[in-house]
Symmetry: C2
Subunit: 143 residues, 2 copies
DNA sequence: ATCAAATCAGATATTTTTATCTGATTAAAG
DNA sequence: CTTTAATCAGATAAAAATATCTGATTTGAT
């Protein structure tokens, strides 16, 4: 049973949205993120580390350390998080799992699937973390 | 890294499409399906068994036994295979992984994601195995 | 200086998915 | 009636995804 993105990726998107929503110059600890978003602490910690490695967020160690966005929220898109965690393979591999699936050797749903995939990609590319800030605040307040 | 459907589901869709394309009253063995579609024999065998349990295909044992569609290809849709194998949870769970995600407590991408998901669902619902028969034949001939 | 609170890296554990093995059963054909 | 080619059920194995543990390091505050 699949749900588009891996748990890691879902958590990563939640976390980075939370960072953007929560941000007022202060650093946010993995512990806080874990508690608010109900993600296992050590797991979200690893995910945050990988997002840092990808350059989307930055971290500082020691007491009162934590995480923050590495660049303006307006310059971070959902697709960046997907690319960093799940990769973009899903956007150019065959939905029916055929090895080669191209315009010259299309799978049976190649043409109907294509536009849907493109729309999905475009959506993830146009949604910046910044644009989603208000909605994230609302969502968080209901957790 | 996710690709929408599980391997099982991809293989299941390929196999049922193959059955429809291949069908001229004859039964098709798991071995043939495995070879043509390059799916591990015992694995596709299990998948075929589960599709039989779901009532989409039927099987007969013994020499010259094999599998065939359990009903007219025009009455089998891709969504039936997805429902049988991966389940339909992906069509009503939150794409960002939030526990509750509803119009009253929407996740940040609830409204942009909704239409895309609906379109995807509709596509899988309108594509019958029968309609995809010709395209499947073309695809098979290139394997 | 010591303590406390945090990240960090690497190892380990658990669960799920993917794949294979074993042997039983069935049924057509020689 | 024996052989052969197939499904079938259940167990097992291997790989990947998810989650946890351990202890080291960093850094601000007491």
């Amino acid at each position: 049973m699949t749900v588009i993105f891996s748990k890691k990726c879902e958590y990563g998107m939640q976390a980075i949205l939370y960072l953007a929503a929560r941000e007022k110059g202060t650093l946010v600890s993995a512990d806080e993120i874990s508690k608010v978003l109900k993600i296992p602490r050590e797991f979200v910690s690893k995910i945050l580390q990988s997002l840092r490695d990808s350059g989307l967020i930055s971290s500082s160690k020691g007491k009162s350390g934590g995480f923050s966005l590495a660049k303006p929220a307006s310059r971070i898109k959902l697709i960046d998080v997907v690319a960093a965690i799940d990769g973009l393979e899903m956007f150019d591999s065959c939905v029916l799992g055929f090895q080669e699936c191209s315009p010259t050797h299309p799978c049976p749903v190649h043409n109907t699937w294509g536009p849907l995939r493109t729309q999905t990609y475009d959506m993830l590319t146009s949604e910046t973390i910044d644009k989603l800030k208000e909605k994230t605040l609302h969502k968080i307040s209901s957790l």
